[in-house]
C-alpha cells in the first residue's frame, strides 16, 4: 500500500512532465488536446469519488471526439495554424 501511495503521489508530476514534453515536442497536438480535452480536465477536478469513474467516462467519450481532429491535424502537416483553425471552429469544439 505505501508503494501505491507513493506512485499516486508521483502521478501528477508524471502527467505534468508528459504535458511539458508534449508542449515543446508537438505544440499543435498539445494545443488541440489542451482545448479538446477541457471537459475531461473539468471532470477530473470535479470527480473526487474513489476510482474516478465519472472522469474516466467523460475522458473516453471526450477522447473519441478529439481523435478525428487530431487525425486531421496530423494529416495536414501538423501545423500550429491548422491547430488553431481546429480549436477555433465552434462546430469542432461542439463535437469535441
Amino acid at each position: 500500500m505505501p508503494q501505491k501511495t507513493k506512485r499516486d503521489a508521483r502521478k501528477p508530476l508524471l502527467l505534468a512532465t508528459l504535458a511539458l514534453v508534449l508542449l515543446f515536442a508537438a505544440l499543435p497536438t498539445a494545443t488541440v488536446l489542451a482545448l479538446g480535452m477541457a471537459p475531461t480536465l473539468a471532470a477530473m477536478v470535479v470527480d473526487v469519488t474513489p476510482g474516478r469513474y465519472l472522469m474516466k467516462c467523460v475522458a473516453g467519450m471526450n477522447f473519441a471526439g478529439v481523435v478525428p481532429f487530431l487525425h486531421r491535424l496530423w494529416s495536414t502537416g501538423h501545423d500550429l495554424h491548422v491547430a488553431l483553425d481546429i480549436v477555433t471552429d465552434i462546430f469542432v469544439v461542439f463535437v469535441m
Binding site: T49, P50, G51, Y53, L54, K56, C57, V58, A59, G60, M61, N62, F63, A64, G65, V67, P68, L70, H71
Partner: protein, 679 residues
C-alpha cells in the same frame, strides 16, 4: 337354641309391596319383605327372588358403606364349595332407600336351621363334649383349613353365627364372615387380648390363630351352657384376661368339662405361638394330641408401676393405659422412675436398653426430658409387641390400618384421618414388625415394604399420592370417593368410566373433571402408567386445556385397559372442550383438517381415538419444524430486502454502473482511435 330362621317368608310378606331392587341379572331384592331374624346388627336382611325361577329360599343382607363388607374375599369364599360355611351366591352394589351412599347386597341361600345360640341368649343347654367334637370341631376345623389355604380368615366365629346343618342337626355350618369388616361384629369376649384391646374397626383380618381363639371361646360357652364374664365392660373383660390369662378368666373358677380341658387350654392360650393350630386340632380330633399347654399370664410383673393414679402390674395393660393418654404417658416415660422400673421391676435389661434406644432416637443430646408422641407409640410397641399400634388418636392393628382409614373416610372424620396420616408418616406400622426383632423383620418383609411405600406416598403432595393413595392401596375395595363420580358406587376399575359417562350424560357437562381421589383411585386400581399425564397435571394447574388434555390421556389409557368400547358423552364433551387446542397448530390447512377430524371423532365414543388425534406428536412435530423452516426463510428474505434497500447497496450499484459506463466510454474511444487509424 333358636330355630327362627326355619320360618319361611310368607307369600304375604313377599307381596307386601315396597320397591324391588335388582341386585344382579339373576336376583331381585324385595325391599318390602324384611327377614329380621337374619339381620346382623344394623345390617338388615330382605327376601330375594331368583329371576331364573329357582325355588331356593334366598335372603340378602344389605350392607351400608360403614359396615365395610369384605368384598375382596367374596370370590375366595364363594369358591369354598367343600367348606361348611355360609357362602354368598352373589353380591352387587345397590342404592338402597334410606341409606346414604351405595350399599352392598350379599345374597345367601338361607341355612336349613337356626344358629347354635341367639345373640341375646346368655344361657343354653350345655352340649356334651362328644357332640361338640363331632358336630362343631369336625366341620369347623375342615372349613378353617380350607380358608387358611386361601389366606382368608373368618373372624366372626361365635355361637350366634354358627348354624345347625344336616336334616337331623348332626353338623354345623360357620356363618357369614363377609357382611362386615373382619371382627367388626365380634364381642371382645371372643377376641384375643391384643385384638380385644383394639376398637372393632382397627382389628384387621388377623390370622387363623384369632379364629381358633374364637372357636375356643365358642366351645367353652357351648360346653358350659352359659356366657362367661357377663356384666363386664369390654375393658374389664380384657383386664380379667390379662390378670388371670384367658383360659382362667373365662372359666371363672369352674372346672372345664371332661375331655375338653387340654383343647380349651390350647385354643385359649394367650401366647399365639403356643396356641393350638390346625395340626394340633387334627391330632386332637384323631385322639393323638394330649400335650398340655402351660398357663401363661402374658405381661404380668411382680413390681407395679404407678401411672395416672393407678398401679399397673401388667405391662400390656400399662401399654394400653399409655395409649389412652399419650401426653401423660410422655411425662411418665420421661421420668427416670420408668427406667428404674424397667430395670428393677421388670428385670428386663434388654427391654430397658431397647427402650432407651427408642427414647434417644432423633435426639443428639441423648434422652429427651419429655418424649414425643411418636416415641410413646414405640414404647407401647416394645411393652406390648403383639398389641395394637397406639398412636395419637388411633388404636389399630397394622392389618387394621386400612379398615380404620376407610372408616374415617366414610364417617368424614378429619381428625381420625389426620391421626392415621401422622401414624403412617411416622412409620409406626412398619416399626410394629421391625421392633419385634430380626426374624419378624424378615418374615413380614412384604408388609414392612407396603407401609414404607405408604410413607413415601404421604411424602409426595402431588395428585395421585397422599392419604388418598394410601386409602385405595390399603383398602382394595374402598369405593371411589371422588366428586367426579357424583356418589356412584365405583369399587372396581371397570366401573369407573361407565359411572363418569352417566354423570356426564345426566349433567351435560363434565365438572369437576379431576380431584385427588379420582387420580389416586385410577393409579391404584387401574395399574397403568400415567406418570406423564400426572406430571402434566401437576405442571399445568392453571391451564384448563392442559388439565383436560392430561385427563383425556388418563381416561383413554383406562378405556384401553378396561373399556367400555363406547363413551359417547365423555368423548363428545372432550372433543368440544379440546377443539380449541388445535389453535396451537401453525399450518392453516392442517388446523382445518384437525378440526374436521375432531368433530368426526366426537360422535364415535372412543376416547382412545380422540386422544390419538389430539396427541399426534409426530404431526405436531412436523408442523413445528415447518413453522421453524418458514420462520428461517422469512428472516433470510427480510435480510435480503433490507440489504437491497440499504445505502451501501445503492452506492455499490452506482459504482458498478459507473464502472460499466467508463468501460463503454473507454471502448468507444479505443474504437474511434482504431477507426481513425485504419479507416
Amino acid at each position: 337354641m333358636v330355630d327362627e330362621s326355619e320360618k319361611q317368608i310368607s307369600p304375604a310378606d313377599r307381596a307386601s309391596g315396597g320397591p324391588e331392587i335388582s341386585a344382579s341379572e339373576n336376583y331381585t331384592v324385595l325391599a318390602g319383605a324384611r327377614v329380621p331374624d337374619f339381620d346382623l346388627g344394623k345390617i338388615r336382611a330382605y327376601a330375594v327372588r331368583d329371576e331364573r325361577g329357582a325355588k331356593e329360599n334366598l335372603v340378602a343382607r344389605i350392607c351400608p358403606p360403614e359396615a365395610m363388607p369384605r368384598l375382596q374375599n367374596v370370590g375366595q369364599v364363594r369358591n369354598l364349595t367343600e367348606a361348611s360355611l355360609l357362602r354368598p351366591l352373589d353380591y352387587s352394589t345397590v342404592t338402597w332407600p334410606g341409606i346414604d351412599g351405595s350399599s352392598t347386597a350379599l345374597i345367601f341361600a338361607r341355612p336349613m336351621h337356626g344358629t347354635l345360640m341367639s345373640a341375646d341368649d346368655t344361657t343354653i343347654n350345655p352340649m356334651h363334649p362328644d357332640e361338640i367334637t363331632r358336630c362343631l370341631f369336625g366341620p369347623a376345623v375342615l372349613t378353617l383349613g380350607y380358608m387358611s389355604q386361601r389366606s382368608v380368615t373368618h373372624r366372626a366365629i361365635r355361637p350366634d353365627n354358627i348354624y345347625w346343618d344336616g336334616l337331623m342337626k348332626t353338623s354345623v355350618q360357620l356363618g357369614d364372615c363377609l357382611s362386615t369388616g373382619p371382627a367388626m361384629m365380634q364381642p371382645v369376649l371372643f377376641e384375643s387380648i391384643e385384638s380385644g384391646m383394639t376398637p372393632p374397626v382397627g382389628r384387621g383380618p388377623g390370622t387363623i390363630a384369632d379364629d381358633f381363639y374364637a372357636l375356643g371361646v365358642t366351645t367353652l360357652i357351648l360346653s358350659l351352657g352359659r356366657v362367661p364374664l357377663q356384666g363386664l365392660s369390654p375393658e374389664e373383660i380384657v383386664r380379667e384376661k390379662l390378670r388371670h390369662g384367658s383360659f382362667a378368666a373365662l372359666m371363672e373358677g369352674e372346672r372345664p368339662p371332661f375331655g375338653l380341658r387340654e383343647l380349651l387350654r390350647g385354643l385359649l392360650s394367650d401366647d399365639t405361638h403356643n396356641r393350638w393350630g390346625l395340626e394340633q386340632l387334627e391330632q386332637w380330633l384323631g385322639g393323638g394330641q394330649r400335650s398340655s399347654v402351660q398357663k401363661v399370664r402374658t405381661g404380668s410383673v411382680p413390681r407395679s408401676f404407678r401411672f395416672d393414679g393407678k398401679d399397673y402390674s401388667n405391662y400390656r395393660l400399662l401399654a394400653d393405659a399409655f395409649g389412652r393418654d399419650l401426653k401423660k404417658a410422655a411425662s411418665a416415660i420421661g421420668d427416670p422412675k420408668f427406667d428404674e422400673w424397667l430395670r428393677k421391676g421388670l428385670n428386663d435389661h434388654s427391654l430397658a436398653d431397647r427402650m432407651q434406644a427408642v427414647l434417644n432416637a432423633g435426639s443428639d443430646s441423648g434422652r429427651a426430658a419429655r418424649p414425643g408422641a411418636s416415641q410413646v407409640t414405640r414404647v407401647c410397641l416394645l411393652l406390648d409387641p403383639y398389641g395394637p399400634i397406639r398412636a395419637k388418636g388411633l388404636v389399630a392393628m397394622p392389618s387394621g390400618i386400612g379398615s380404620s382409614l376407610s372408616d374415617a373416610f366414610i364417617r368424614k372424620d378429619t381428625a381420625a384421618i389426620e391421626s392415621l396420616r401422622n401414624c403412617l408418616q411416622d412409620g409406626a406400622p412398619a416399626d410394629w414388625f421391625k421392633l419385634k426383632g430380626e426374624t419378624e423383620t424378615i418374615i413380614y418383609e412384604q408388609k414392612i415394604k407396603l407401609f414404607d411405600r405408604m410413607q413415601q406416598f404421604l411424602g409426595n403432595k402431588a395428585m395421585g399420592y397422599g392419604i388418598e393413595r394410601c386409602l385405595y392401596t390399603l383398602d382394595p375395595y374402598h369405593a371411589c370417593r371422588s366428586a367426579v363420580t357424583d356418589g356412584a358406587a365405583v369399587t372396581e376399575a371397570r366401573e369407573l368410566l361407565p359411572a363418569i359417562e352417566k354423570v356426564v350424560q345426566r349433567r351435560g357437562e363434565f365438572s369437576p373433571i379431576v380431584d385427588r381421589h379420582l387420580i389416586a383411585f385410577i393409579v391404584t386400581r387401574f395399574k397403568i402408567n400415567i406418570d406423564r399425564p400426572l406430571a402434566a397435571l401437576d405442571l399445568e394447574q392453571d391451564d384448563e386445556s392442559g388439565i383436560k388434555l392430561a385427563m383425556l390421556t388418563i381416561f383413554a389409557r383406562a378405556q384401553t385397559k378396561h373399556g367400555p368400547a363406547e363413551l359417547p358423552a365423555m368423548t363428545s364433551w372432550f372433543a368440544r372442550e379440546l377443539e380449541s387446542t388445535v389453535n396451537r397448530i401453525n399450518s392453516r390447512s392442517f388446523r382445518d383438517q384437525m378440526r374436521k377430524r375432531i368433530r368426526a371423532l366426537a360422535n364415535g365414543g372412543s376416547l382412545i381415538k380422540l386422544h390419538a388425534c389430539l396427541s399426534n406428536d409426530k404431526a405436531y412435530r412436523q408442523d413445528d419444524s415447518a413453522r421453524k423452516k418458514a420462520a428461517r426463510e422469512f428472516v433470510l428474505a427480510a435480510k435480503e430486502i433490507a440489504q437491497l434497500e440499504s445505502q451501501e447497496f445503492r452506492d455499490s450499484a452506482q459504482r458498478s454502473g459507473w464502472k460499466i459506463a467508463s468501460g463503454i466510454s473507454t471502448t468507444v474511444s479505443v474504437l474511434s482511435v482504431c477507426f481513425v487509424a485504419f479507416g
